[in-house]
Structures are given as structure tokens and as C-alpha cells.
């Protein structure tokens, strides 16, 4: 089902037109990378704080709430530009091991970042102890597991 959808998108006139204009793909790649930088910054500020580094003089809940608008802005910009990237070569991505791995890790990373982590950021910091460090480490590991295979798509596998 996913393959047939990918093939339909791949064969569509709109995608053919967009693919023929080389600058479209380049601009989407650039926008995706800019969005990734904003998202990474907002994510890391909070992850570092969870791990007892970075903005340690500020309450964790304050750091997380101040980073949240930029985390969301970066995330949605990543989703939109990522979907355009996917639409430009859906069949190639369907068969890419790196892309499939990235998507699976990303599903876990999204649940962790937008459901689990905010609850812990609002919790009583004194009760987090070692769990805070584990949350920060898990978040960074998960998103590294998204970013690294994402960059390797087209280069390896």
C-alpha cells in the first residue's frame, strides 16, 4: 500500500515538474537544515538542563517553557520541508534502509519529546535525580538516531 502510494506520487505531474526545477530541491534541503538547527538548539538547551549542564541556575520548567515555541516551530518546519523532500523522491526513500530506520527512530523520538519529556520537565526537580540525566541522554540519543541516518541517506545504503 505504501509502495503504491509512493509510485503514484512519484508519477504525478506536479512532482515531475518540481523535480525538473533543480533549485526547488536545493531550497527545500536548505530550509530543512535551517529548521533542524532551530529544533536542535531548542532541544539541546532543555536536554542539557535535564543532564545538569547548561542553564543550571534557571528552573527546568522555565527553560523548557521558554524553549517550547522554538522547538515546535523547528519541528513543524522540519515536518513540512521533510514531506516535500519525501514527495520529490518517494520510491527511492521507500527502498532506502537509512530512511526506514530514521522513520522508526523518529516515531519513538516524537513520542518521547512531546509526551514524556514535557511531563518530566514540569515535575519536581529534586525527585528527578538520575532520571533527569537519563531523560536528557535518551532524548539526545534518539534525535542523533534520526539526524545521522537522515544525512547518510543517499550517501550510504
Amino acid at each position: 500500500m505504501l509502495l503504491s502510494l509512493a509510485q503514484k506520487v512519484d508519477a504525478s505531474a506536479l512532482v515531475h515538474t518540481l523535480r525538473d526545477i533543480a533549485i526547488i530541491g536545493a531550497l527545500v534541503n536548505v530550509a530543512h537544515l535551517l529548521a533542524l538547527s532551530v529544533f536542535a538548539g531548542a532541544l539541546l538547551v532543555v536536554d542539557l538542563r535535564f543532564m545538569g549542564a547548561g542553564l543550571t541556575r534557571e528552573p527546568l520548567a522555565d527553560v523548557a517553557s521558554q524553549a517550547r515555541p522554538w522547538l515546535l516551530a523547528g519541528f513543524w518546519a522540519l515536518v513540512v520541508t521533510g514531506l516535500v523532500q519525501l514527495a520529490l523522491q518517494p520510491v527511492k526513500e521507500y527502498y532506502s534502509d537509512m530512511f526506514n530506520f530514521k522513520m522508526k527512530v523518529m516515531a519513538v523520538a516524537i513520542i518521547f519529546t512531546f509526551i514524556v519529556r514535557p511531563r518530566l520537565a514540569r515535575a519536581d526537580e529534586t525527585r528527578l535525580r538520575i532520571w533527569g540525566k537519563l531523560v536528557g541522554l535518551a532524548s539526545m540519543t534518539l534525535w542523533a538516531g534520526v539526524a545521522i541516518p537522515a544525512r547518510l541517506i543517499g550517501l550510504v545504503g
Binding site: 534541503n29 538547527s37 538548539g41 538547551v45 547548561g54 541556575r57 521558554q66 524553549a67
Partner: protein, 171 residues
Amino acid sequence: MTIKSVFQAIEALPSSTAFRESLNGYPFTLTAHVVSMCLFAGLIIMMDLRLAGFGFQKTPFSELQKRLFPWQMFGLIVSSVTGTVLFYGQPMRYYGKALFWTKMILMVLAGVNAGYFHLTTYRSVGKWDKDPMLLPFGGRMAGYLSLALWAGVIIFGRLTAYNWFTYDGSQ
């Protein structure tokens, strides 16, 4: 001795050739470069957003600057080392690329902007540290300029992969 001849000499070195021809060296170094660049740029952007008045308004600027600095430097060092290795592997590929040199110029300008800010506006940080409304015009401008310059570095860095605006000497 011209810059071109230096680049050609580097490219002819056995270690440069070995890196260029290695199966995994280039993709993994490029990946480390991009990921560390995002770490560095991301943390710089968070600090610049505070200066520009778009975020982290409750946090004193000096806190952001001092506490994020070691992590920014970590990202900068990793991205600089990996970037140098990428360049070392194929210097003649970059020699004639206007987009690559534009990125380099923007990086220098971003460094000059940061240095100028620290030598001027940041000296009076005690007066405006906790209240963003007291931030001098020069500080706000430094934030806007830094955001624009680092965005330019990312944009031109990514576009370097394409062969647009490539002139004499490149492969």
C-alpha cells in the same frame, strides 16, 4: 606559489587521496560535520533569539552566554575539524566554488560580529542583563546580524554540494 598550486599539492598528498577514495570516510565525516554544525548553530541561535527579543526573555543574557559557551565551542571544534578534513580530501573541488567561499566569508563576518559585540555592548551587560527592554540597540542588532550570518553559513554550506557558480580549477 599560488593558492591553486597549494590546493593541488594538498590534493596530491597520499593521505588526501586515501580519504577521498575511502568508502565510508567521506559520508561519515560529512555526517559528523552537519550534526555538529547543527549543535553549534542551534545553541548560537537560542542565544541570538534572546538578544533579538524573540525568546528566553526570562533568562539573564549572561547566563545563556556563559552556560552555553562550552557546548557551542564543542560543536564549533567538531565541525571545524570535520570541515577541515572534508576540505583536505578534495581541495580542488572547493577551489573554484563561489558558494563555498561565500560560506567562509560569512563565517569570518559572524566571528567579527561576535567579537565586536563582546568588546562593546557586552561590557555593560550588568545594566541590561536581566531586563531585555534595557538592551542597547547595538546588542539587538548584533543578535539580528548573528542570526542572518549563521543562517547564511548553513544556506551556503548546504548549497556547496551543488555545482552552481563553480569556476576554474574545480573538478
